[in-house]
């Protein structure tokens, strides 16, 4: 059940430091939206405001509105936990739970919340999620081994499996493939393509080809200089961004001429 996200004039602060300024953007349901832009321009920061994960960072706060199917994420009485269980997130660095086995890592979202789940349901959920993350074949014989014993790429795929296991409405991915090999990347990209049939997907990526391959719409963020806030420069259909950008900065960036 995909949902749309509408952001109105959002500012994000770390304490007093304005990290992202004046972003307004509409993220369509059942589509993939890519955020691109140079390092430090606030892609991760902005992405985190979409499921209130920025609140976890001391001093992190926003001004403005983020609407999930018209419901303000920041409305009075909204519980961030509700928000996050509907809007899942995959991080830049793989972070499996070190105390848990591979299987328990996949089931973490279910089990940690104290929901009861039958063994057979659990097993099928684990298999389905791991297959979705293209990890099943590599780990099916060691589901009870610790997740931290996997290689970097394997760990990241485990984290993706963990996130899709809770079946959120929206999935945010912060450079999910930056530690993956092309095959896994391809599998994830395929997966994203499948996911968008049901979910809203937002992905931050440094890989322009990836953005071009997987996304329907692309947002380009940029930063004027250190200490300045990051801004949304251009937001359009992916094809338009890559073939026919409106802004000079966008064109420079996507063509690798940026400096």
């Amino acid at each position: 059940m995909a949902k749309r996200i509408d952001v109105n004039d959002l500012n994000v602060y770390y304490s007093k430091f304005l990290a992202v300024e004046g972003v307004s953007i509409n993220i369509e349901p059942k589509s993939v939206t890519a955020f691109i832009g140079p390092s430090g321009c606030g892609k991760s920061t902005f992405l985190r405001t979409l499921n209130r994960m920025h609140e976890v960072i001391p001093g992190g706060r926003v001004e403005g509105q983020v609407l999930l199917d018209g419901d303000d994420l920041y409305g009075a009485g909204v519980d961030p936990v509700t928000v996050r269980s509907q809007i899942g997130m995959v991080f830049q660095r793989p972070n499996p739970f070190p105390t848990m086995s591979i299987k328990d890592n996949v089931l973490a979202g279910v089990k940690l919340n104290g929901q009861k789940i039958s063994k057979s349901d659990a097993d099928s959920l684990v298999e389905k999620s791991l297959r979705g993350a293209n990890l099943w074949n590599e780990v099916k014989d060691r589901l009870d081994k610790p997740g931290s014993g996997l290689s970097g790429g394997q760990q990241q795929r485990l984290c993706i499996a963990r996130t899709i296991a809770v079946k959120p409405d929206v999935i945010l991915m912060d450079e999910p493939c930056s530690a993956l090999d092309p095959i896994s990347t391809l599998a994830i990209e395929d997966l994203i393509n499948e996911l968008k049939n049901d979910y809203t997907v937002v992905i931050v990526t440094h890989n322009m080809q990836q953005a071009a391959r997987v996304s329907d719409r692309t947002a380009f963020f940029n930063i004027a200089g250190t200490g300045k806030p990051g801004k949304l420069i251009e937001f359009n259909d992916t094809a338009a961004i890559f073939s026919n950008p409106e802004q000079k900065a966008t064109e420079d960036y996507v063509s690798g001429r940026f400096g």
Partner: protein, 311 residues
Amino acid sequence: MTANALTSKSSTSGRAGDKIFSGAALGAGVLILITLFAVAVFLLIQALPTFFADPAEISGGEGFFAYIWPIVIGTVIAAAIALLIATPIGIGVALFISHFAPRKVAGPLGYLIDLLAAIPSVIYGAWGYMVLAPALVPGYEWLAKNLGFIPIFEGPASQTGKTMLTAGIVLAVMVLPIITSLSREIFLQTPKLHEEAALALGATRWEMITTAVIPFARPGIISAVMLGLGRALGETMAVALVLSTGNLIPSLIKTGNQTIAAEIALNFPEAFGLRLAELIAAGLVLFLITLVVNMIARGIIARHKEFSGAN
């Protein structure tokens, strides 16, 4: 949109769980503050008569200050000896277990050292005066003979070995496991990433420890030392049994000196009335010493906060 679907959906029970848990956490913290406050009030009320008494009535006959300061110094000396010995050795042992010893033996070794923490102070006291003190006598005699010109080693050395230095060493043995086991746990938690970063830069093991391990563990080490200090300052029985007490003197190898905690332990049973108030006032002073020392330690940690290893 009037009704925000996100608000209605939130499971109230889950939220209550959060509230209860954070409330309990807060409550526990506040309980500690209340307890400590109550202890302070208790000490203050019980000690009060001391401060209003005629100075001649106080032990020593010259008022509370004259009574307390020599044993304050004694306390500080004993704790200082203990920490001077135990801190480097404790950190060394922790490093040995975390970074030097083969993995197979490291665990059992750590376990062995932890055992030291389990031995009751009475036993340390008994061991101190039965085994350690006599064994140190020749050393003290050597010190008095060869280094006697330094005031702290001035002779003639005690014949029983029951001196401040012995007490300090016993205290050091007692705080060693505290410092060791806490530091060891923290050393073991040093991120592998950072250790590898240092090694890949061509660091020797020791250099890796100084660049990655120690800075990461610094606040933890300071806490561990503070915990050890707490024990060293407050230890009663072992000092009472080991030390041949007396007036404040500079020499650490002669009979003399006294600590607050031992003073309390030795005199409490027979104390009543004003004497009791005096001893409790001494307890209050000990409390204040701990307070000041901790303030200093906090200050040191806070200064490096920005660069803390966490996160």
